[in-house]
């Protein structure tokens, strides 16, 4: 008996998007979480977006995902990063009211037809004939399903460290998922340990804000979602600094930190280091940033961004005393480090299905990533592909050339992970094209086809799209003082505002994103054309078909390992062959050459 179509284990940022996508595509979906009060909990910082992440959130939104919409419902401080730089690297970011986000997200999911939320601890994935067939919970309840998506995050064999102490936990005061981690190893997954950390939370009334610089939100805040019309700033963040005294205290107590005493084996993220890490690795820096970020409107908890630490409670307290403005700060929760299991993502296909157990999908930190947005992007793709698989349809594979989600997934499954993976704009070859302002044009039509974007939203999108594209065409075709408007703008003869004022009223941008789109399309036009050409050439080469009767074992110069993999996966095209883990550019070039030779030989044999 099949109880449901898709089971999603874990209701963090990955699990939410996975369950939401699967249910929206018409499948009965069960979302199981250890604690129903913490659906969509932001375990670490209270913000969504940022460089590369902001573009990623837009992509999730363009594909009908939940993150940006709920994020805008609870956003309390908005900034467009890199505002003074070009549109390709501008990225929206919002500070969230954490409690609001959690509640709004739970409610959002509860209203989705076909989606059931359930509280339980999954201990085992049920596998029948190499295929996932359901899960078993701690109570011994067996739930059958056609596909299972695991998004356990730091709960997977989680171990919290504070100073000399450590204890199993998935997040402060929540139980870890130990049996499931064991079960994955039994199923044959190669797993490893990673580490992350979070700073202390301080009581707002005990902070002397006069010692900090206020960081206001943007006067004209940009929403996370394409479908949000207006958002407001409701709080102010603050910037301050550590000093030599703080560093001295930390240095003297390094032996007591979980990280530097050797008690932590997992590898932590380089871009989000703990304060002790920063002091050890950059001894010549006399100060480091601290950002104070309120965790919500109706709470006094303040997130001390930059002070992530695994030092004992009393050391954390001691170094806080040395920070101007935090002399009397009261900690409501101490900072801590957490180690957890991950499964190397080279064990996945580009659809995020595992190569070991069919119909089993993994998303989020279990794949070695860090960040809410990275998790959500993978969750969305895993949800879509679980649904497609059960519908008997080919998987959705997002190419690198089309999206940051594609860049991330391709990096993960082809390169694997040896430290927590974070998305950066510099990872994308087509950074000038993969922008926040055009994510909907890139992805919404696809999402609509899949059933992820409803008709009403789609009509709204089409209007936005048409307005932008007609305005762009107008800029390139119509002239201002004898030269095309686009050229007049890019050569600095007129400003963007002036260019826009030349548009017929019905083509004028209705928000900042539409303005940025036009700005980008004009500024980068030379590059965008070139990128289209490069993409076409790659496409042509990638679509080179591999003859099904070709015997890979006779391809000279390939390693036995690759020959075996090729024979096993039987890729149909070069594009598919490229996705085989361990496939190198040199091997691929060799393969292309051999296929061409093979085809030539065949055609001469036939004639």
């Amino acid at each position: 008996m099949i109880d449901t179509d898709v089971i999603v284990v874990g209701a963090g940022h990955a699990g939410i998007e996975a369950a939401f996508a699967s249910a929206k595509m018409g499948l009965q979906t069960l979302l199981i979480t250890i604690h129903l009060e913490t659906v969509g909990q932001m375990s670490c910082n209270p913000s969504i977006g940022g460089t590369a992440k902001g573009q990623l959130v837009r992509e999730i939104d363009a594909m009908g995902g939940a993150m940006a919409k709920v994020g805008d419902r609870c956003g309390i401080h908005y900034r467009l990063l890199n505002r003074k730089k070009g549109p390709a690297i501008q990225a929206p970011r919002a500070q969230e009211d954490k409690a609001c986000y959690r509640l709004a997200m739970k409610h959002f999911l509860e209203e989705v037809p076909g989606l059931v939320l359930y509280q339980g601890i999954v201990t085992r994935v049920l596998v029948k004939e190499g295929r996932a067939s359901g899960v078993e919970t701690l109570e011994g309840i067996k739930i059958r399903a056609g596909a299972v998506i695991l998004t356990p995050g730091t709960f997977l064999n989680g171990l919290i460290h504070i100073g000399e102490r450590n204890y199993p936990s998935g997040r402060a005061n929540e139980p870890a998922s130990i049996e499931l981690a064991e079960n994955l190893k039994e199923l044959g997954f190669e797993t490893g340990r990673l580490k992350t950390g979070t700073p202390m939370r301080l009581h707002a009334d005990t902070i002397d804000y006069s010692k900090f610089q206020p960081q206001e939100g943007d006067p004209d805040p940009v929403p996370l979602s394409f479908w949000t019309r207006e958002v407001k700033n409701r709080i102010v963040c603050y910037l301050g600094y550590t000093n030599e005294e703080v560093h001295r205290i930390i240095r003297e107590n390094l032996h007591r930190s979980a990280l530097y005493s050797g008690r932590i084996v997992g590898i932590g993220p380089r871009y989000c280091p703990s304060i002790e890490d920063k002091i050890v690795k950059f001894p010549h820096h006399s100060r480091h940033h601290i950002f104070l970020e309120p965790e919500g409107v109706e709470t006094k908890e303040v997130y001390a961004n930059g002070l992530s630490s695994s030092l004992p409670y009393e050391v954390q307290e001691k170094f806080l005393r040395a920070i101007p403005g935090l002399e009397d700060a009261v900690m409501m929760r101490p900072g801590y480090a957490i180690e957890y299991d991950f499964a190397n993502p080279t064990q996945l296909t580009h659809s995020l299905e595992t190569r070991i157990v069919e119909n089993l999908f993994l998303a989020g930190q279990i794949n070695g990533t860090s960040g809410y947005e990275e998790a959500a992007g993978q969750g969305l793709l895993a949800g879509i592909n679980a649904a497609l698989k059960l519908k008997g349809k080919p998987p959705l594979i997002l190419p690198r050339e089309l999206s940051y989600i594609g860049v991330m997934v391709d990096d993960l499954v082809t390169q694997g992970v040896d430290e927590p993976y974070r998305l950066f704009t510099s990872r994308a070859e087509r950074r000038l094209y993969l922008r926040a302002d055009n994510a909907d044009i890139r992805l919404t039509p696809l999402a609509h086809q899949l059933g992820l974007v409803g008709e009403e939203e789609y009509r709204e999108f089409l209007k936005r799209k048409e307005r932008r594209e007609r305005a762009r065409a107008y800029f390139f075709q119509e002239k201002h003082k004898g030269i095309p408007i686009a050229r007049a703008y890019t050569s600095g003869k007129i400003s963007l505002k002036e260019a826009i004022s030349l548009l017929p009223p019905e083509l004028r941008p209705e928000n900042q994103d539409e303005e940025r789109f036009l700005d980008a399309e004009m500024r980068y036009s030379g590059y965008l054309e070139k990128e289209v050409r490069v993409a076409e050439r790659i496409k042509k080469e990638e679509s080179l078909e591999i003859p099904q009767e070709m015997d890979f074992s006779t391809v000279e110069g390939l390693s036995t390992e690759l020959k075996e993999k090729l024979s096993r996966y039987r890729p149909r095209t070069i594009a598919e062959a490229r996705r085989i883990p361990g496939m190198t550019p040199a091997a691929l070039a060799l393969l292309i050459g051999r296929i061409r030779e093979w085809k030539k030989r065949k055609s001469s044999e036939n004639s």
């Binding site: 690297i89 280091p273 940033h289």
Partner: protein, 447 residues
């Protein structure tokens, strides 16, 4: 990296004192031991004497030296064996045949070096230098390609790449971490870009001179029938190679010979039989082929018969060569001069050299004229670039120019990335993770 073992003769076909056969790959040792029976214990990287054994017939057929190399300490980076039997192609091919019978595969051209490259023993520039060293046409060319093999160009390109990578890292840090307040100094960035651009242009200027040192200067000898082309050709070579007769059009095949002038090889092509007024299909074909040669050559030597006034065929040839780099020779000065050197000069734009091929007069003057006309001034840098490297450098130049034209960090970063990729293409490496790795080793990123 490679799972199969390859075998091939390493010395040219033909008979000689000794030849060499090479084996490379995981099975090189067992295969070699089936063919070669050493007189003592095999020590790696030491010459060992032994006998070559035909295991199909159970008999020995030659004796010689073998050297065993254990991976990674070999040319290819794999297990390798070099056999030195006596220089008879029958022996060489027997060894190859026996090796293939034991599972080795005949190597494709250049495959040993290709493996050395893929196994990280040398970068692409050095791998190419191996080929160029083997093909060099003069001793100066040999020295040049050896310097390249030692890494002269690789080092320059690597330094250039490092410099650009540093700028890219700074720029990417500014882009990726806006909260950190890192702003890169634009003047310094522009200076790096400008310096790099001039380094790239420096390298680009090495193409013509390097090509000349390595490949030599190809010159076509052009003249109407009986103008004394072949005599001059022979006189320059100072040996009788072509049949010199009074009958026009005796030699229809083109002869090529090489002379060295000041360390540069000149490849001279005698177009004997070339008739600007062809009388039959054979001569028409000869003319077509001569014109084709001219298109690919670096220049020509135009030979005029000094014993006759200028005739229509001479005018045709002067026209044909109007756009070519050339030296003009008036031959047969041992006979009474029938044409006016001043007229020749006004027609061809070149001061004609007076030569008697028959009497070997004026040849030194010709060599001097060839040197002045064709030998490029060599920059004493001990490096050069080949066509592939030139294309990549041209692309790098273009991207650097565009990076200098823009103020927008994302555009400069894009151009920098492309420029770096072009340089990496020269070395044959691609390292996408490196920028990020660099960011993290140099900066303290907190957010």
């Amino acid at each position: 990296m490679f799972e199969d073992t390859i075998v091939a003769p390493a010395t040219p076909q033909g008979r000689g004192a000794i030849s060499m056969v090479r084996l490379s790959g995981p099975e090189a040792f067992p295969i070699a031991e089936a063919i070669f029976k050493p007189s003592g214990k095999i020590a790696t990287r030491k010459a060992v004497y032994g006998k070559f054994y035909d295991f199909t017939q159970g008999s020995f057929f030659d004796e010689g030296i073998a050297i065993f190399y254990r991976a990674p300490h070999s040319y290819t980076g794999e297990d390798m064996v070099e056999f030195t039997p006596h220089g008879n192609p029958i022996i060489v091919w027997k060894i190859v045949e026996l090796a293939t019978a034991k599972g080795a595969r005949l190597a494709r051209p250049g495959e040993f070096t290709y493996r050395a490259f893929l196994n990280g023993k040398m970068d692409l520039v050095r791998a190419e230098a191996v080929e160029e060293l083997v093909e060099a046409q003069s001793f100066e060319g040999v020295k040049l390609s050896f310097s390249q093999l030692q890494g002269s160009l690789s080092k320059r390109v690597e330094e250039l790449r490092e410099r650009l990578l540093s700028s890219a890292v700074l720029l990417e840090t500014e882009i990726e971490f806006p909260d950190e307040g890192i702003e890169i100094n634009r003047d310094e960035l522009r200076k790096t870009l400008r310096d790099s651009l001039s380094s790239v242009r420096d390298l680009l200027s090495l193409f013509e001179t390097g090509k000349q040192l390595l490949e030599g200067v190809t010159l076509v000898l052009v003249g109407k029938p009986n103008s004394g082309k072949s005599s001059l050709f022979n006189a320059i070579l100072e040996e009788e190679r072509a049949i010199v007769t009074e009958v026009p059009g005796t030699t229809r095949d083109f002869l090529r010979e090489r002379i060295i002038i000041d360390g540069v090889a000149f490849i001279l092509i005698d177009t004997a039989g070339m008739n600007p007024e062809p009388r039959d299909e054979i001569e028409r074909e000869g003319m077509r082929r001569a014109e084709l040669l001219l298109r690919e050559a670096d220049g020509a030597i135009l030979i005029l018969d000094g014993a006759k006034p200028l005739e229509p065929p001479d005018h045709k040839l002067i026209n044909l060569l109007s756009k070519h780099n050339k030296v003009v020779v008036i031959n047969k000065t041992d006979l009474p001069l029938q044409l006016e050197p001043e007229e020749v000069k006004s027609l061809t734009g070149e001061s004609p050299l007076l030569i008697s091929a028959k009497k070997r007069q004026g040849l030194e003057g010709l060599k001097k004229a060839l040197k002045e006309k064709f030998i490029l001034k060599q920059p004493a840098q001990g490096l050069y670039i080949n066509s592939r490297q030139r294309i990549a450098l041209k692309r790098a130049e273009e991207h650097l120019l565009r990076a200098l034209e823009s103020e927008a960090p994302e555009i400069v970063a894009q151009e920098l990335r492309e420029a770096i990729l072009s340089l990496e293409e020269i070395l044959g490496k691609i390292t996408p993770q490196e920028v990020l790795d660099n960011i993290f080793s140099r900066f303290c990123i907190g957010k």
